[in-house]
Amino acid sequence: MIKSLSRGFAHFFSLFSRKKKVSLGLYGPPNAGKSTIANRILKDILGEDVEEFSVSALEHETREVQKVEKLVMKRKGKELDFSLIDTPGIATKIDYEDFVKKGLKKAEAKERAKEATQGVIESIKWLDNVDAVLVVLDSTQNPYTQVNITLIGNLVAKKKKLIIVANKTDLKQSNLDKIKLVFPDYALVPVSAKTGEGMEVLYETIFKEFY
């Protein structure tokens, strides 16, 4: 009773606060550019080049959930205190032979596959710890995949707020219409994490959807 009363008061006062705390997760399939977007967000907030999150053309470069805390984003007198959580790409399969085909030695490929497998499992567990999610999709790839549908279905079922970030719009093959067609019910922001194009719109949308 006392607990629910204090929660009620906290909620009441939060309505008048200009500050909000959010745990913001970056989720999506492997190689969609989650870590590049995370680095870009850090650069824009901290005002300096940071390579906090490792980036590679090889799939499953991020094999552990990584968190940067105490970040602040400001817009029109409002303040968003947030932690940024970069997660390993969600996949239903990981085969070390795929890494061998891309040039890794067998032992190295097996180790990478093992770490990647644990990373995906950790990533799935972390879904319960985030308040809001940027679903990062590679706009040059077909968005109609079971991984994307399962991920978004789970976010909706868990009542998490989400924005779809269509990355890699600087590439010729980028197809935003297809993403709009497959996921018409969610806020969609096209960006190029590489060039920085669209990031301002993303920040505006974060405030609109998550604040």
Binding site: I90, A91, T92, K93, I94, D95, V120, T145, A157
Partner: protein
């Protein structure tokens, strides 16, 4: 109607067809174990209806926990049998979904050592083998 049947392609690959009724009697954990038991033997499971999104994630987690030299996870795809084109169809489908839950459509789950990719389209699935 409870049904579980098995057929083969050129005597090499088995396809297990599991009915909605059969699966609906099982708890999520049992459902996932039953599916993975078949898939880990190198065969394909065809489900009537679809798993709950949470069950799909649980299936992914369990499959990845089983990854070894011989098993590298699963390919999974769902084909909906009802795509609304008009508002009336949308309302009708929503009502049917409430009444029949996840019964409509089919789900294909197979071992990724055998299935290279399942190309999904709202109207069709294309299974590409290795």
């Amino acid at each position: 109607m409870k049904q579980s049947s098995k057929s083969s392609i050129n005597g090499k690959m088995g396809v297990h067809v599991l009915s909605y009724d059969l699966l609906s009697e099982l708890a999520s954990q049992e459902k996932i174990e039953r599916i993975l038991e078949v898939v880990k033997t190198g065969e394909i499971v065809l489900l009537e209806g679809r798993l709950h999104p949470d069950e799909e994630l649980q299936l992914t987690t369990h499959a990845l926990k089983s990854v070894s030299g011989k098993f590298s996870g699963v390919e999974i795809a769902f084909l909906s049998s009802r795509k609304a084109k008009t508002l009336l169809e949308h309302v009708k489908n929503s009502l049917l979904r409430i009444l029949a839950k996840d019964r409509f459509g089919i789900t294909v789950i197979g071992p990724s050592k055998i299935i290279k990719e399942i190309k999904m389209d709202p109207q069709k699935l294309e299974i590409l083998f290795k």
